[in-house]
Amino acid sequence: MKRAILKLKSWAGESFSEVLVALLIVALASMLLAAMYSASGSVDAKVKQEDSEFYKEVSAVEAMDATAPSMTTDPTESIEIKDDSSGFNATISVNVYQTDDGTLKSYEKG
């Protein structure tokens, strides 16, 4: 019992084990950091690619470029200009230009 108490009180060998544990922690931290940077890089690259495609789609829809990829047109649509209070109502035929998934649309007078 006395021997055990002495062992606990002793500082001998502590610096070596401490350095080992510290090295382990630093290694773990480095691995985590690398993994996080790698993940953020992947997300960033994906966002950049989506951004690029998105702006291409926006430009094509805005310019009403029917030849652009992922673009469809519909000449059978119409819009309405109206005012319920005065009874004004006018229907105008339009050509619609939209992305394949229909998220972006634009039109011009048909």
């Binding site: 500082w11 985590l32 997300v43 200009i81």
Partner: protein, 257 residues
């Protein structure tokens, strides 16, 4: 006390502290990088809605502009006044007149009354008060003195499926210039506000001419017709209004080309 001093000076445990500090910094830096990337990713969805909002306004503005540019307002009036009408009264006058007006385009029902009122109250330089009664009755409107602006500020452009409604205010001024304002959102928080101003090209034809004319004024003893000379006054008050592309300007918002 001595033991505490020793502990304070001791370097044991410093490497562990350093390691923990490095660990914390690494976690912080990694978290910051991931957060920034995630924020960029979320921005995309938001941008899509914003862009569609903008495209809705730009499309509506383009159609409204094309509708205005394709419109014309014409009105014509001609009065012929002959100062001698012996067949009826021996010393009276007789007048005939023709007059028509027409505003084309989808906004005709909004502006025709106002434009007719402007046409009627125009300061015609030919000045022939004799025909004013005929002129005014031919182009009578419910509007008295024309206001500086006239139009409709509560129109809605209902687009195709998937495109939000766009508010439209359309006003004309005394010079027939038309201004259309389009936006999404409510009037207090307008988004993508686009203003189209289209100047009118107005051509007046304002002429008065007098010519002599012969009229039958009885017969002599031999039965021959006696002719008298009268004055025939012709007044023309015409207007032609067009709205041309070159005068169309976009003050705010996106390209409406």
């Amino acid at each position: 006390m001595r033991r505490v001093g020793e502990k304070m000076r001791s370097r044991k445990g410093a490497s562990m502290l350093f390691a923990l500090l490095v660990f914390m910094l690494c976690i912080l830096a990694g978290t910051a990088a991931l957060t920034a990337a995630a924020a960029n990713s979320g921005r995309y969805t938001h941008m899509e809605a914003e862009q569609q909002d903008y495209l809705s306004v730009a499309s509506a503005a383009r159609v409204v502009r094309d509708e205005i540019l394709g419109s014309t307002f014409t009105a014509n009036f001609m009065a012929v006044n002959e100062d001698k009408t012996p067949e009826t009264s021996g010393d009276g006058t007789t007048s005939v007149y023709t007059g028509n007006k027409n505003l084309t385009g989808i906004f005709a029902s909004i502006f025709e009354e106002y434009f007719t009122c402007l046409y009627r109250t125009h300061d015609w330089s030919s000045k022939n008060p004799d025909i004013d009664v005929m002129f005014n009755s031919r182009f009578s409107t419910t509007l008295g003195t024309p206001t500086d602006e006239f139009g409709n500020s509560s129109l809605t452009v209902a687009g195709v499926d998937g495109m939000g409604d766009v508010s439209l205010e359309i006003l004309a001024d005394k010079n027939y210039n038309i201004k259309a304002t389009l936006y999404t959102g409510d009037a207090d928080h307008k988004r993508n506000e686009t203003v189209i101003e289209i100047k009118a090209e107005v051509k007046y034809t304002d002429e008065k001419s007098d010519v002599n004319y012969y009229y039958a004024n009885g017969t002599d003893s031999a039965g021959n017709t006696i002719y008298g000379v009268g004055v025939r006054t012709t007044v023309v008050r015409n207007i032609a209004v067009t709205w041309t592309d070159t005068n169309a300007t976009i003050k705010d918002g996106g390209a409406v080309s």
